[in-house]
């Protein structure tokens, strides 16, 4: 299944992909579009991606988590226009015990934010449209 989706994400679908009678602990994370960003009212977001690389990088992040912990991981990120309150990303990690499920789930969302080439444009109530993070110039290869 693709890691990027243009349709609404379904947490239960992803849970089903990793749930089993050998996995007693399932930790998950949902990222939801917030109504405010840095004090300004947000109307909606546009997520875009470098699709081929985002798919490849998501696969690597999932594979690394499944190697580091005894878990199965499901991951999806939504692309396109999202309204406030909609789910942008879902991570689910299932393991025999909750320690590894929580650790893997947290790791995958952190790595996704750090590594997967996805961008968002925020449409504010005041009419302004900004690329999130575009003001930061610091990051880049050492």
């Amino acid at each position: 299944m693709a890691y990027l989706s243009e349709r609404a994400l379904d947490l239960s679908d992803l849970v089903r992909q990793v749930q089993s009678s050998e996995r007693g602990g399932i930790a998950s994370f949902l990222g939801v579009v917030r109504a405010h960003h840095q004090g300004r009212a947000v109307l909606r977001l546009d997520y875009s991606a470098y699709h081929e690389m985002a798919e490849a990088e998501c696969a690597r992040v999932v594979a690394e988590a499944e190697t580091r912990w005894p878990v199965r991981v499901a991951l999806q990120h939504r692309i396109g226009t999202l309204e406030v309150g909609e789910v942008a990303v879902v991570v689910v990690a299932a393991g025999a015990h909750r320690d590894e499920a929580f650790a893997a789930c947290r790791h995958v969302i952190e790595e996704l934010k750090r590594r997967v080439p996805i961008w968002k444009r925020e449409y504010f109530a005041d009419g302004q449209v900004d690329w999130v993070g575009a003001a930061d110039a610091g990051q880049g290869p050492a």
């Binding site: 990222g31 875009s48 991606a49 470098y50 690389m53 990088e57 996805i118 961008w119 880049g140 290869p141």
Partner: protein, 90 residues
């Protein structure tokens, strides 16, 4: 036999996304470089060829063939080099 770096060239495709595609006004540019050129050297050449690239930061995040790389990464012919705005997934 090995050639001197000036005698052969390689060609790469530079891809731009999101804020950078808007700022530069292009989403893809072909660039020729001396054999053995690095990502850092490509960025310098890209700025010489594409004046609007001045809008990009000095050291942007880069990927080659779908993998994050450092600016010291050596390029090969037909590589796809992506210049990535600050990531904002999640």
């Amino acid at each position: 036999m090995t050639s001197s770096s000036a005698s052969t060239t390689l060609s790469v495709t530079v891809r731009l996304f999101a804020a950078y595609a808007e700022a530069v006004g292009r989403s893809s540019v072909e660039i020729s470089l001396p054999d053995g050129a690095t990502v850092g050297e490509l960025l310098a050449e890209f700025r010489r060829r594409v004046p609007t690239a001045a809008a990009l930061p000095e050291r942007p995040l880069c990927a080659v063939n779908l993998t994050h790389v450092l600016s010291s990464h050596p390029l090969r012919n037909n590589d796809e080099v992506a210049i990535l705005p600050p990531l904002a997934g999640g």
